[in-house]
Symmetry: D2
Subunit: 365 residues, 4 copies
């Protein structure tokens, strides 16, 4: 079933294909009275925009967002949300559908081509149709509104921590360098290495996977629920909803399997401010599905794009064996542009849980 | 917000605490006319039941399930589902609440104690209350009904593939040995090693993490959706909804980040039967959110239980610093009993998606 | 699709058939820390209980409710909600399934028998199965918890305002007499008339319809939404979800069609307390989907029960023509016992909207 | 909570205000492969369009719909749905916001002005903002897609059956005349009477209520569920979700309260075709929440618009007493244009239930 709504109280419904006239989303459940302009959203969109370096797709999209509903100019002359659905529209301007003629009838191995065909029997093959990474622009736009709901006290930042076998050195982590390199790397030392490596990948028409890490600081203790409405469960769903993601981790993640109870226990002391002070964060800020007040830490693996120049064996829609080579303009490492997308998904989940928390605990202090 | 319903069309709502009179669930959306008896469910429940070896908690629960609604004896004398909600009840019989007196006012590091208190300001501290692994009995019971919906053609099996640093040897994988060792190990060779290791863990009052792998064979191509209603997204949500899970992987999982596009592409040939034949399964049976017809492969990491005998630094509910030691009866490796739970969650997700697929594609052949 | 959950944030999932071992429900989304005992719920249940006068079914059910989860004894020794799902169980004790032997294979005209069979191809014919009015006991139990969420400032009361062609005289409306007659009539003057009329109906084995009115006072302005999340929309859904209801009205209801804009306008003055004071309430307390602060007024029509002693022409499950007479124990006017059910549904809708309002407007004063 | 999504499997999410740049909706869950063009939708939209006679608002809107996603040209050159979300956009072209200057700070009695302000503290007062009847264009557009899902075998038609105290003569009912008079009247005899009456209403700057009846023929038996997923419950919700609706009836509706069990029973005979043949339709085609195969009949009352020229007493946003007169261009009888809206809501509910039925009963013949 195709149901393109994400979130329970703070909801985003996205629509649009890579090569249609436009993409967009409807953000519903936003509280009233929040200042919101197109510029607020554009800032985030520009970070995800393709064509900003030689390491991402060369498709050129202005990615200009229009707000079609849900805001009004208040008595003070400020544009604010009204509490009604916010419709966002982003025109597609640089489709080159003819690039896709050759793959019209054959399935790219590792791509949704085959399964989409199996399910629907009809598809918009151009640019991956609905499965295109282009859809993530809508997520980033909605995420910008989610950040408004969270307010300035909650800071969400993402970074690329691995490309292929080249992982960052965590001891050099510096949030300040993330914006100043084309990879969203928090480790300045690895940037030249990644540049050389990705240039090779790009020139050979290949592609490579990556790992993104998103951290939310300032999240109050208490968001989430013990089971089913778990904060980490919704983060897992959010990140796995992004195209090409194959694994999601919270805190220690898969390596939690290798820890003893003693090592895994994040011991607690009373801080100088009288508040709980944790001595480590294996939990990634989530205990029993509920935020602990520590930074919420989520990582996800993005597989290499399946659109590569190396010929691969496949079949066509008649079931005949053939070979396929994908031209068009593709990201050699689609994980790079997934960084702002991961941030947006984190913001969407936290905004949703903040509203949920208010609903159930609004009667408490 | 505490919302204890899982699934969209095939839905399970669970309820109950570790030390209340009973636990249970309501399974809603089940198609009518499926044969179903309490025995069908009991078989699965017995696999998860505690106290079956020295490697799981020594709490003794009969875990006998009662079906309170949703079935009727048909004209042929067979008990079948009616299409109305199926209410399942499992009495708690072996609570020892006094074991928990000492942890009433202090928070176990790494446990939901602290966050639960932060959120609700009131809690049932005995046995973890709602956060107890005991709740997973309801999941296993509901999963048994989900298997009925899927029918015999879809086979879901789980196995433990890692305890701490000791991973299985995949070349020795044999589904037939899973039921004949206390670890659900598919690798007979590692069993003695795990026994020695877990005996040490248990005797020292410690605990250790593990990795579970669940595989569904016979899943037809076409279940899922390109975005948001993705099969892998719902699997991530399902597995992360289980207590103590910190990471989820589909197919290659986190290691997809280290692959090139060439390596990751599961090439396709025409099989002898005329059907698509994949040469590898890095995708884990899910491409672009939709099942490909290959086995669906999901793994998840279970952290070590936080209830250990080693004293840990913590605070109490007044914020004072203290130390904590958890007595009571705990699983030294709670990942073991998570195997049938993971199978159940896989069954629930697939049953839900099978119904969704029928809804949207019922007009196709 | 059978989905037996009602409500968005404050949710009730009901289960159970008339002639199974028990009925019950799970109430999810309840805020923590509310005092709640079985006695609190029993009070409401006893008002709906059958067999309390000769004007309702003679089935005798104790309707004793057990709370199986979601509450704990707090530090002050008071039983309070924990914020986790509350499971309620009511045993069925007085089934007489043999009464239904004769209608096993024929369909009662005006009853769900025929459509249920058409849909499911299998049914529990005894006592209407899932379609039995017995299910409404679960609603009343859940409604008692909803009242706790609303608090003492919001008072919800229901009354019977019409039986067949005999409507009450509204000028004699007195809430104090509702509990002291077997009809929940607010008009003491009509009681003897209704007694005589219903005795005739009952003795002749017939049945008759009725109209119930439910009024909620003390509802603050601002609950609901302009569209789709409308308070009146959810009330319409709630009341029409009750068995045998065929029409729902808010305020002026169907007669609003006969009003001019001038007559329909509930003019507003500034009250002595400085608050808005409405001069009339054609709106029934809901304007544009949002509560106005006036009493919320909802009415619904309950059709006569289709289980009557007069033979009616029908067909059997083979399609053959036949006649049917329904024995068993039935309500001559099932609308009477619908009064506490209507109150419960009003309470459920308001509790849900109160939580929704907190979620979206929690950031306002 | 503002949640602007309607439907469970076949879903519509609407957005937009009366005086914003555009309105629109996203239709999600639509099966793939259905032929769909903008023209298909335009036909329905044109029936609802304002300014087509002197009896509706004189606002002139082209109401031209654009399809922004979810369709593709298939191999046969036909534009078909792809199974992904369908985004529809309708530009607003004839706003006259200055008409609303005078009502900026005062609340129209009987209008959402007051409650909207109470809830949100900010509003787009122009043309009623989100509460405007303009939003219903989105519903009609989505309804046109729902009709495609239902196919030509299910015919949904609406009519106006009452304006104020002037009800139609049902013995003269003729569907063929509905399109040929400005009121959607099925009774040609009442048209001159309504014309004279509405001319008076219009000239005096007043307004009047109306009743709409919607009938769906060809609906198969079996859609719906015994409880909560009831077809009539969802119809009640659908119709009450339309602005200005105050009452909803299924079949006999409120007058079912006046019927005996004998009179209410729709007796069944075996028809010449071997199928069940009902002798009457008090049930309105829905028994126990499930369609019976008879025509589904739903009626709803639309209150008079509150925007009238007669001065009414009210207060302003500061709480001061004042008088209000609403200029602007308003429908003297907004019930007229509600006819195609009611049809659309019926189509949306039936399409949703058709998909639900396939989901749960897809395994049956």
């Amino acid at each position: 079933m195709s149901h393109n709504t994400f979130g329970h109280l703070f909801r985003m419904t996205t629509w649009g294909e890579s090569h249609g006239p436009a993409i967009g989303c409807v953000v519903d459940g936003c509280p009233p009275g929040l200042p919101l302009t197109a510029e607020d959203i554009q800032t985030d969109l520009d970070r995800r925009k393709p064509g900003q370096s030689r390491f991402t797709t060369q498709r050129r999209e202005a990615d200009e967002v229009e707000i079609l509903s849900g805001v009004v100019t208040d008595a003070q002359g400020q544009q604010v949300t009204t509490g009604t659905p916010i419709s966002l529209l982003i025109r597609n301007t640089d489709q080159r559908s003819k690039d896709y003629g050759e793959i019209k009838d054959a399935f790219r191995p590792g791509h949704a081509d085959f399964t989409y065909w199996s399910k629907y029997g009809v598809r918009d093959h151009r640019g991956g149709g609905r499965s295109s990474a282009r859809e993530t622009a809508s997520r980033v736009a909605a995420g910008a509104i989610a950040r408004k709901v969270l307010g300035p006290g909650i800071v969400i930042r993402g970074a690329l921590v691995r490309i292929g076998r080249l992982a960052i050195d965590r001891s050099r982590w510096d949030w300040n360098v993330v914006a100043s390199n084309p990879f969203f790397s928090p480790d300045p030392g690895i940037v030249p290495e990644w540049e050389r490596y990705l240039d090779d990948v790009r020139k050979s028409g290949s592609s490579i996977g990556a790992v993104v890490e998103v951290v939310a600081e300032g999240v109050p203790a208490g968001l989430g629920a013990p089971l089913y409405g778990k904060l980490d469960q919704d983060l897992a769903s959010a990140m796995m909803s992004i195209n090409a993601v194959k694994g999601v981790e919270i805190g220690a993640g898969m390596s939690a399997a290798e820890l003893t109870g003693e090592a895994n226990a994040d011991e607690i002391r009373r801080g100088a401010d009288g508040k709980p002070h944790f001595l480590s964060n294996h939990a990634g800020g989530v205990l029993g599905g509920i935020s602990s007040g520590q930074p919420v830490v989520c990582r996800f693996a993005v597989k290499p794009t399946s659109s590569i120049l190396t010929p691969r064996q496949t079949i066509d829609s008649e079931g005949n064996e053939t070979e396929i080579v994908t031209k068009g303009r593709h990201d050699p490492c689609v994980g790079i542009r997934a960084v702002p997308v991961g941030e947006a998904m984190m913001a969407l989940v936290l905004a949703d849980h903040l509203l949920r928390h208010r609903a159930q605990n609004g009667n408490r202090g």
